[in-house]
C-alpha cells in the first residue's frame, strides 16, 4: 500500500477506534486474583490461630482479608478500564497497565507470527488470548481477553496483512 501519503496514513491511524477488551475478561481476572488471594488469607489465618502475632486474635486476618478482597476486586476493574487496543493503518496499538502504563506500537511489517492461545480458564469464560511476535526478544504484544471467535478473526486478519520486508 505505498500509494497512501504520510498525511492520510496519520489520519487513518488517528481515526482507528480504540477498542476495549471483552468485559468478560474481568471475571477471568477476578477468578485468578481470588485463586492468588485465598491461600494468602488462609495462611495468615493459620498463623494467627496457631502461632500468634502481637495483636489481638482476629485483627490481622480481618485486615488482610479486607485488603486482599479490595485489591482482588479493584485491580481487574481498573485494568479493564485502562486496556485499549487499535488496529491502525500500519501498526497494532496497545495500551495497558494501572500503575505503570505501557503504550506499544507494533508495525505490521515487523510481525513474524501471530498466535491465539486458550488456557483452561479462558475456555471456561469463552475467551482467548492473541499473542503477536516480532524479532525482538520475548513477546511483543499480548491481548489477554478477547472473545474466542473475535481472537480467531483478528489472527486471520493480521496473518493476511501483506508481508513487507521482515528481515532481521
Amino acid at each position: 500500500m505505498p500509494d497512501r501519503t504520510y498525511a492520510t496514513r496519520m489520519e487513518e491511524s488517528a481515526a482507528a477506534p480504540l477498542l476495549p477488551l471483552d468485559p468478560g475478561v474481568r471475571r477471568l481476572w477476578w477468578t485468578t486474583a481470588a485463586l492468588t488471594a485465598l491461600p494468602i488469607i488462609v495462611a495468615v489465618l493459620l498463623v494467627d490461630v496457631f502461632i500468634g502475632v502481637p495483636l489481638p486474635t482476629g485483627v490481622l486476618p480481618v485486615v488482610v482479608t479486607i485488603a486482599a478482597v479490595a485489591v482482588a476486586w479493584g485491580l481487574p476493574v481498573l485494568r479493564f478500564k485502562r486496556w485499549r487496543y487499535a488496529l491502525r493503518a500500519d501498526d497494532l496499538w496497545l495500551r495497558r497497565g494501572v500503575l505503570w502504563t505501557t503504550t506499544s506500537v507494533i508495525p505490521y511489517a515487523r510481525l513474524q507470527f501471530v498466535d491465539t492461545k486458550q488456557g483452561p480458564l479462558d475456555r471456561l469464560f469463552g475467551l482467548a488470548q492473541l499473542v503477536v511476535y516480532t524479532a525482538a526478544v520475548g513477546t511483543s504484544g499480548h491481548l489477554p481477553g478477547l472473545r474466542a471467535d473475535a481472537a480467531e478473526r483478528l489472527r486471520e486478519r493480521l496473518a493476511d496483512i501483506e508481508d513487507d520486508d521482515v528481515g532481521v
Binding site: Y6, R9, M10, S13, D90, D91, G97, L99, W100, T101, T102, T103, S104, V105, I106, P107, A109, R110, L111, Q112, F113, V114, Y133, T134, A135, A136, V137, S140, G141, L158, A159, D163, D165, V166, G167, V168
Partner: protein
C-alpha cells in the same frame, strides 16, 4: 528476505525427530577427533581422580571406555550436509534429530578453539540464528580448512558491490580484503583488566572466599590479630583488592589476548583468546545496534568499550564476551568505530539533548527519600547515632545529579542515539530501520511530572541490560516519537 507466510518464517530453525528405522543418514561426518573432544570432558575429571590417588583402576577404566564408546557411536550417527540454501544437521544417540537451518536465518558464525580442540588440531563451529536460548547449530570438530570453507558458505552474502566482480568471473573463494578496525595492545589489555567490570566480580569472589577461609587466611598472616584489630581488617581488605585486580587482569589477558577486529565490507571478524581461541563472524547487515560503554573507572580517562547487538545471541558470560567489538579504547576511537561499522558519518559530533529538568528533580527526590529512609532505620536501630546516616546525603545527591547528566537523546538522520546509566554509562546507536516495535512506559510518578520513557525494541541477544531507552523524555515529545519513529519513510 521475504516470508512465505506469517507462520512459516519462524521458528528460524526446524527440528524434527526421525524414526530410528528411517532412511540411512547421508552427509559428512565430523572430524574423527570429535570423539576425543567429547571424551576430553569426561576423561579430564577421571585423570584428576587418578592423580589424586583414588586408584579404583577397573572402575575408572570402565568409565573411560564407556565415554569413548559413547563418543564413537555419537560420531557415527552425526551427519551434516549443505542442502540447497540450508545446512542440515542430523544427530542423536538414541533418538535421532534433524535440524534444518536456512542460510538467510543465520545471524552469526563463531569458530571456537578451546584447549580440547587445540590438542586435536580441530575447530568447533557455532551457528547462531534468531531466537532460541542456546546455539542452534554446533559442529564440534571440523578440520580448520573445512570450517573456514563452511563459514564462508554459510555467510554467503552477495553485496551489491561484489556482485559485479562475481559476475566478472572471479571465483567465490577469492579472499576479500580485510581492513583492521581495532586491535588491542598489551598495555591496553592490562588497563582493561584494571578498570573492567571483572574487578567487582573478582572482589566478590575473594570476599566470599575470605568468609569461608577467613581462619586460614589468618594463619597465613600470623602477625595480624584478626579479632578486632582494625589494622588486620585493612590488611585483609588490601589483600582482597590486590588479588581481585590480579585475577581480573589475568582473566582479561586470557579472554582478549591478541584481540583483532577486521571487516571486509560484508562481515566483521573478531579474533581473540590465548588458551581458548575464538573467531567470530558477524555479517554487517545483521548488526542491530552498537553500544559505547563507559564505566565509572574509565570515564575520567575518557576510555570506553564498544559492544554489538546481534539477534539471537544466547545469554550468559560467553555471549557477553563475544559482544565486544572493542574491549577498551579511547572514546574517540570507540565513536570512530561505531561510525565505521554502521556506515554513518558524523556520529561523534552528535550533541545529545538533556532530558527535561523535571527528570533531575525526580532523581533528587528519590535520593532524598533513600537518605530519609536510611536515617529512620538508623534512628530506630542505633539511637541518635543513626543521624550519621544523614552524611549519605552528599554522595546520594551527587549520584542523582550524575545520573541525570548521563541521560540524553539525540538523532543523526536515521540513527537514534540514547544514553543512560551512571555506573556504566551506555550510549546506544540504533538505526531507525532496525526498530521492531516501540513501547512508551509511564509510571504514576512520571505521569505527575509529565515524563515518559520510550523503549527502542530491537532484535537483540538476551543480555542483562534490555532494550535501549530514552528515559524520562517529555511526555508529549515521547508520544510524538512513538507515532513517527516506526512510520514507513
Amino acid at each position: 528476505m521475504r516470508q512465505s507466510g506469517s507462520a512459516s518464517g519462524w521458528p528460524t530453525s526446524r527440528t524434527t525427530t526421525l524414526a530410528s528405522d528411517g532412511p540411512q543418514p547421508s552427509g559428512e561426518r565430523l572430524h574423527p577427533a570429535a570423539i576425543g573432544v567429547w571424551a576430553f570432558n569426561t576423561l579430564g575429571p577421571l585423570v584428576v581422580i587418578l592423580v589424586a590417588g583414588r586408584r579404583d583402576s577397573p572402575v575408572i577404566a570402565a568409565a573411560a571406555g564407556i565415554s569413548i564408546l559413547v563418543g564413537v557411536v555419537r560420531w557415527l550417527r552425526f551427519r551434516w550436509r549443505v542442502d540447497g540454501q540450508a545446512i542440515v544437521i542430523e544427530s542423536g544417540l538414541l533418538q535421532r534429530q534433524r535440524r534444518v537451518i536456512p542460510f538467510d536465518r543465520i545471524q552469526a558464525v563463531e569458530s571456537v578453539r578451546k584447549l580440547r580442540h587445540r590438542v586435536f588440531g580441530v575447530v568447533e563451529l557455532r551457528i547462531e540464528t534468531v531466537g532460541g536460548a542456546s546455539t542452534e547449530g554446533k559442529l564440534e570438530a571440523l578440520h580448520p580448512r573445512d570450517a573456514e570453507r563452511l563459514r564462508r558458505l554459510l555467510l554467503r552474502e552477495t553485496p551489491a558491490t561484489s556482485l559485479e566482480s562475481q559476475q566478472a568471473g572471479e571465483p567465490v573463494a577469492a579472499q576479500p580484503e580485510q581492513v583492521v578496525l581495532a586491535r588491542l595492545s598489551l598495555d591496553r589489555l592490562v588497563i582493561a583488566g584494571l578498570t573492567g567490570g571483572r574487578v567487582g566480580v573478582a572482589a566478590a569472589i575473594f570476599g566470599v572466599g575470605q568468609d569461608f577461609f577467613g581462619d586460614r587466611i589468618g594463619d597465613l598472616l600470623p602477625r595480624i590479630d584478626l579479632s578486632g584489630d582494625l589494622r588486620g581488617f585493612f590488611a585483609l581488605a588490601a589483600l582482597v583488592l590486590a588479588g581481585a585486580f590480579l585475577l581480573s587482569i589475568a582473566a582479561t589477558l586470557l579472554t582478549y589476548w591478541n584481540f583483532t577486529l577486521t571487516s571486509d565490507g560484508v562481515a566483521l571478524r573478531v579474533r581473540r583468546g590465548l588458551l581458548e581461541q575464538r573467531a567470530d563472524t558477524i555479517p554487517l547487515r545483521r548488526v542491530q545496534a552498537l553500544h559505547v560503554d563507559e564505566n565509572l573507572l574509565r570515564r575520567p580517562f575518557r576510555l570506553a568499550a564498544v559492544t554489538v547487538e546481534v539477534a539471537g545471541r544466547s545469554g550468559g558470560e560467553e555471549a557477553q564476551q563475544s559482544g565486544y567489538l572493542l574491549p577498551l579504547g579511547t572514546r574517540a576511537q570507540a565513536l570512530r568505530l561505531v561510525e565505521q561499522v554502521l556506515g554513518h558519518d558524523g556520529l561523534a559530533e552528535v550533541r545529545l539533548t538533556p532530558m527535561p529538568s523535571r527528570a533531575r528533580d525526580r532523581r533528587l527526590l528519590r535520593a532524598a527519600g533513600l537518605v530519609a529512609a536510611a536515617t529512620a532505620v538508623g534512628l530506630v536501630v542505633q539511637g541518635w547515632a543513626g543521624l550519621l546516616a544523614l552524611l549519605l546525603a552528599a554522595p546520594a545527591v551527587a549520584l542523582a545529579l550524575a545520573a541525570y547528566r548521563c541521560l540524553g537523546h539525540g538523532r543523526s538522520g536515521d540513527m537514534l542515539v540514547a544514553r543512560a546509566g551512571v555506573v556504566v554509562r551506555r550510549t546506544s546507536f540504533v538505526p531507525r530501520d532496525r526498530l521492531q516495535s516501540l513501547a512508551l512506559r509511564q509510571s504514576v510518578f512520571q505521569q505527575r511530572r509529565r515524563l515518559a520513557s520510550l523503549a527502542l525494541q530491537i532484535a537483540r541477544g538476551r543480555g542483562a541490560r534490555g532494550d535501549p531507552r530514552f528515559i524520562d523524555l517529555d511526555e508529549r515529545h515521547a508520544s510524538g516519537l512513538l507515532e513517527t519513529l516506526t512510520a514507513p519513510s
